[in-house]
């Protein structure tokens, strides 16, 4: 755990490196004491002179990489090897490292899709890259008993065990924090404090600072209204122990009830596939509405926040549909939260985020799925399909035509799965439209690839530009502006739905096709309660 924090800066001047060798007889990995000249590192290009080492997974995980040339004994660390070599009583000259120069080494991750596969983001420390590989791409073998967090690296697990459950700070609103600074910051802005300041604060001071062990029963509700719904909810720790959101969204949610009940009933029914639940919700909320309206003490009640309300719905419906109460907080993503997420708006990620047992396998299956196809596979598929789709355009490929599949309208996870699977097809039609004649894998140039060879598929004339719009001659130059506006105009009138462009292609046109006029996240800017997704 500590190694990464102590990694040396990425420039290691040779002068001090040599100094340390002559004095101690072995090279250390610590920061040089007085670097003669500190080169300024550009972020992202740690050290152009560094030696990039790419190990295979097997080599990376091998435990004894450093081998003594004399007796072939293996060591985990270079320092240990050097110490061992001293024991061989070598003459002074041979005690030196055999390498001529000390070059900084950086390591890349063998996993190609990993962010650390790129030499510009290599890690400077072998142990670091090993741990990274295990954490990211390895199996999580270590599990914390208390909170069920899993770790792939033993030292991470040990570090966690030290802090898990040892210190807990509890805000009056019920949220738990493992770190004091998060607790203090939350506390300063929490509603609970505003109420408390009305009472004598000397008594409160003692209890709020109390350190308690992890509390298992749900915390007491903040206002009378929440007592109606809290039995159905367990506001345990959320995805992070220091998530401070706690019960406050409930109060906000409660106030937004009157506005959105009807709309949300529709939404929740489609997910829970039982209309009985909606009436249950309606009755619960109806009864609590009047109570909550009174109990808002804050000077400035927040505007309606559909996210928290839908969280409420989702938690309730979850508890309704499945007996287990999820331990994830009510803040889990909902499509109604109108957040800026491509993920959410497109697949209607539904009111049942991952923790729900029902949806779990499907959701995880689709989210864990790697991108369906590589670009080259897409191009090959396009070649197979041929020139049939002569009018297919970039537009269609992006799924933005008005006749685009309305597959995105449905909000279930099944549909989301389908969307993933339709991606290759849409990509193929795009390829066809772009006139990319990749009949075989042996094409020579990117330019040729992209521009399309003269005999592109079928009889796609070169004069048609990529969009099949026949504007000017293919290629840049004079028609550039016209071509670009044609491109952009072809995306449909009204508000340009970038997300649709950027993301719906991934989903085969789902989600964005129905209402090209809306901005990306739908009407949330205008109508915060918008249930329009459903």
């Amino acid at each position: 755990m500590g190694e990464l924090e102590k990694s040396s800066p990425l420039t290691v001047p040779t002068a001090s490196g040599e100094a340390s060798i002559s004095s101690s007889g072995y090279q250390t990995m610590t920061v040089p004491v007085a670097p003669p000249k500190k080169k300024r590192n550009l972020p992202g290009m740690p050290d152009p002179e560094a030696e990039v080492i790419a190990l295979s997974p097997k080599a990376l995980l091998a435990t004894n990489r450093f081998v003594c040339e004399i007796c072939n004994k293996g060591f985990q660390r270079d320092q240990n090897l050097q110490l061992h070599r001293r024991g061989h009583n070598l003459p002074w000259k041979l005690r030196q490292r055999t390498t001529k120069e000390i070059r900084k080494r950086v390591y890349v991750c063998p996993e190609p899709s990993c962010v650390h596969h790129n030499p510009a983001r290599a890690l400077g420390d072998l142990t670091g890259i090993k741990k990274h590989f295990c954490r990211k791409h390895g199996e999580k073998k270590w599990k914390c008993e208390r909170c069920s967090k899993k770790y792939a690296v033993q030292s991470d697990w040990k570090a966690h065990m030290k802090t898990c459950g040892t210190k807990e700070y509890k805000c009056d609103c019920g949220t738990l924090f493992s770190r004091r600074d998060s607790f203090i910051t939350h506390r300063a802005f929490c509603d609970a404090l505003a109420e408390e300041s009305a009472k004598a604060h000397t008594t409160a001071a003692g209890s709020s600072e109390a350190k308690a062990m992890v509390a298992s029963p749900p915390p007491p509700p903040l206002t009378p209204s929440t007592s109606v719904v809290s039995p159905a909810l367990s506001i345990q720790s959320s995805e992070l122990p220091e998530n401070p959101i706690g019960l406050s969204p409930l109060t906000q949610a409660a106030t937004s009830l009157t506005n959105t009940t009807a709309a949300f009933n529709t939404g929740s029914s489609s997910n829970c596939s039982s209309s009985s639940t909606t009436s249950v919700f309606a009755s619960i909320f109806a009864s609590s509405t009047s109570v909550t309206a009174v109990s808002q003490p804050r000077p400035q009640p927040p505007p309606t926040s559909p996210s928290s309300f839908s969280n409420l719905i989702s938690a309730l419906s979850r508890s309704d549909c499945s007996t287990t109460i999820p331990s994830v907080s009510v803040i889990e993503p909902t499509s109604l939260s109108l957040s800026t997420s491509l993920y959410l708006s497109n697949n209607g990620s539904s009111l049942f985020p991952a923790p729900d047992n029902h949806q779990d396998p499907r959701q995880y299956a689709s989210s864990a799925q790697p991108p369906a196809m590589s670009a080259t596979a897409l191009l090959q598929k396009a070649a197979q399909i041929g020139a049939a789709a002569s009018n297919a355009s970039l537009l269609r490929g992006f799924g933005l035509t008005t006749s685009a599949s309305s597959s995105g309208q449905d909000s279930t996870a099944t549909q989301w799965n389908m969307n993933i699977q339709t991606k290759p097809e849409s990509g193929a039609s795009v390829a066809a439209g772009l006139g990319l004649g990749l009949a075989s894998a042996g094409n020579s140039g990117l330019t040729e690839l992209m521009m399309g060879p003269a005999s592109a598929f079928g009889n796609q004339p070169m004069t048609r530009d990529l969009l099949g719009l026949s504007i000017g001659v293919g290629g840049g130059g004079g028609s550039s502006t016209g071509g670009l506006s044609a491109l952009l105009n072809s995306f449909g009138g009204g508000g340009f739905d970038i997300t649709a462009a950027a993301a719906t292609a991934s989903y085969g046109g789902g989600g964005g096709g129905g209402s090209p006029r809306e901005t990306w996240d739908g009407p949330s800017e205008r109508k915060p309660n918008g249930p329009a997704f459903f």
Binding site: E5, L123, T185, P244, L484, L488
Partner: protein, 471 residues
């Protein structure tokens, strides 16, 4: 990109792909692209970050040279690589692609579409509650690193003073101050009285709150009262220095929504002792967190840039200490291609950090990433006065500060210890290093993320000797 990294392969079964990408890495991209088909296939098949970067650069240079067809082509390829639910590279790419498309539409004047007025972003603006923001800044130590270093330095500097006045220029709406108030409350000689002033205008960037600045100040005041620290909160604006007036809240909303530049000039006009109501017996502290980057760095003719004017004004106020915290990345270059490269090779850091701690479908992670996407869109999609994100690296900023007449003061050992303890509480991967410029830098897996520096004005006789050893 001219990088001469040599790739040493040992027992790697994927040597071919790596060699291909290193070849790509070494060639300068000609405008039309001369990559071989085989290289392209190998590249896309493995979704290598270096290849994505190349594609982005191709697209950008195509846009800059008005080569629409090539731009479209590359965008199509990028679109198939990008994915909002894929791995980090894919998610980053989707934001970059979005920014490039946004830029493309701006390049073309005759387009029939509207982009919501063109100045503001197309990305949905999300408003958070104060408690949500409190959680947001704590997801990763990205912000808290700066808070901790700054609060510790401030605490040390104001020793012996009974009155403290902090000018807080930041984009995270006073999330820094509860911990300082808490520390002041526990001071052995009792807390000083604390006054915090914030500007009325704020750049229109996330994180955005669903309440006004006054409301934030009100809650902070509640907390200070609870901790028995005498406290006052002010919004610096035209009308008056008193808080919670109706006019100031509406003007503040106006400030947030309209273009930032004009209002910054207004703000600059307020940076004088009388408008700020400075007192002689108070220790004046200036805190700039993720702020200077929003002040224009282009000088217009003979006059200084906004940024330099701001620094001069601050210097004239003669504060006891100025803390500057920002992200350590050089993003102010006029060249689009260099911005893309730098941006792509920097913003993977918060993406990676978030992914390490938050599950795949975490709403918080998605929101945080979309805020970063907002930034990407501004850096790449806009130019001129609309490009408000003009980040300077710590090194460049330090030079600017020195040129403006400040000299840096080191952070005390106690501060360093506190920051280290903070990072220890977060899981491994986060580290810290100290630079010779007395700069503390937060690192993620060894890569620079955020820098923190402390300065005092070089005002000749006004330098307090005790400051040298204090902070």
């Amino acid at each position: 990109m001219h990088v001469s990294m040599k790739t040493e392969l040992r027992g790697s079964t994927k040597s071919l792909a790596l060699q291909n990408s290193s070849t790509l890495f070494n060639t300068t991209p000609p405008p039309q692209g001369s990559l071989t088909g085989a290289a392209l296939q190998g590249c896309l098949g493995s979704l290598d970050g270096a290849c994505i970067e190349k594609l982005l650069l191709h697209c950008a240079s195509a846009l800059e040279s008005n080569d629409v067809t090539l731009a479209q082509q590359v965008m199509w390829v990028l679109n198939n690589v990008a994915s909002s639910v894929g791995d980090i590279n894919q998610r980053l790419t989707s934001w970059f692609l979005r920014a490039l498309i946004s830029r493309a539409s701006r390049v073309c004047p005759s387009t029939a579409m509207s982009f919501n007025g063109g100045v503001t972003s197309t990305i949905q603006r999300r408003l958070m509650s104060v408690t949500e923001l409190a959680g947001y800044v704590d997801l990763i130590p990205w912000h808290r690193f700066g808070y901790c270093a700054s609060n510790s330095a401030i605490f040390n500097t104001i020793q012996g003073y009974q009155k403290v006045h902090i000018l807080d220029f930041s984009i995270t709406h006073c999330m820094q101050w509860p911990t300082l108030i808490d520390a002041l409350a526990k001071r052995p000689e009792g807390p000083p009285s604390l006054r915090i002033s914030v500007p009325c205008c704020r750049p229109p960037v996330p994180p955005l709150l669903n309440v006004s600045g006054e409301e934030v100040g009100f809650r902070l005041g509640n907390f200070a009262k609870f901790r028995e620290v005498p406290f006052e909160f002010n919004v610096i604006n035209n009308s008056s220095m008193s808080s919670s007036t109706l006019s100031s809240s509406t003007s503040e909303t106006m400030c947030i929504e309209s273009s930032a530049t004009f209002h910054f000039e207004l703000l600059l006009a307020q940076l004088n002792p009388s408008s700020l109501n400075l007192q002689d017996d108070e220790a004046l502290v200036v805190n700039c967190q993720n702020w200077l980057r929003y002040l224009g760095d282009e000088s217009k003719g003979d006059s200084n840039s906004l940024r330099d004017i701001f620094l001069n004004k601050i210097k004239a106020l003669n504060p006891r200490i100025i803390i500057v915290v920002d992200e350590d990345c050089e993003l102010s270059a006029p060249s689009l291609t260099s911005r893309i490269t730098t941006c792509f090779n920097y913003l993977w850091i918060p993406f990676d950090a978030l992914e390490t701690f938050l599950p795949k479908d975490s709403r918080q992670r998605i929101e945080y990433e979309s805020d970063i996407g907002h930034k990407i869109e501004n850096i790449i999609g806009f130019e001129g006065f609309q490009r408000i994100e003009r980040l300077e690296s710590g090194f460049t900023l330090s030079q600017r500060m020195r040129n403006a007449g400040f000299f840096s003061i080191p952070f005390s050992e106690e501060t360093v210890r506190e920051v280290k303890a903070l990072l220890d509480e977060h899981a491994s991967g986060w580290g810290m290093k100290r630079d010779e410029d007395h700069m503390l830098v937060l690192t993620w897996k060894g890569h620079n993320s955020v820098f923190a520096t402390a300065w005092v004005p070089n005002n000749g006789l006004d330098i307090h000797q005790d400051q040298m050893g204090l902070a």
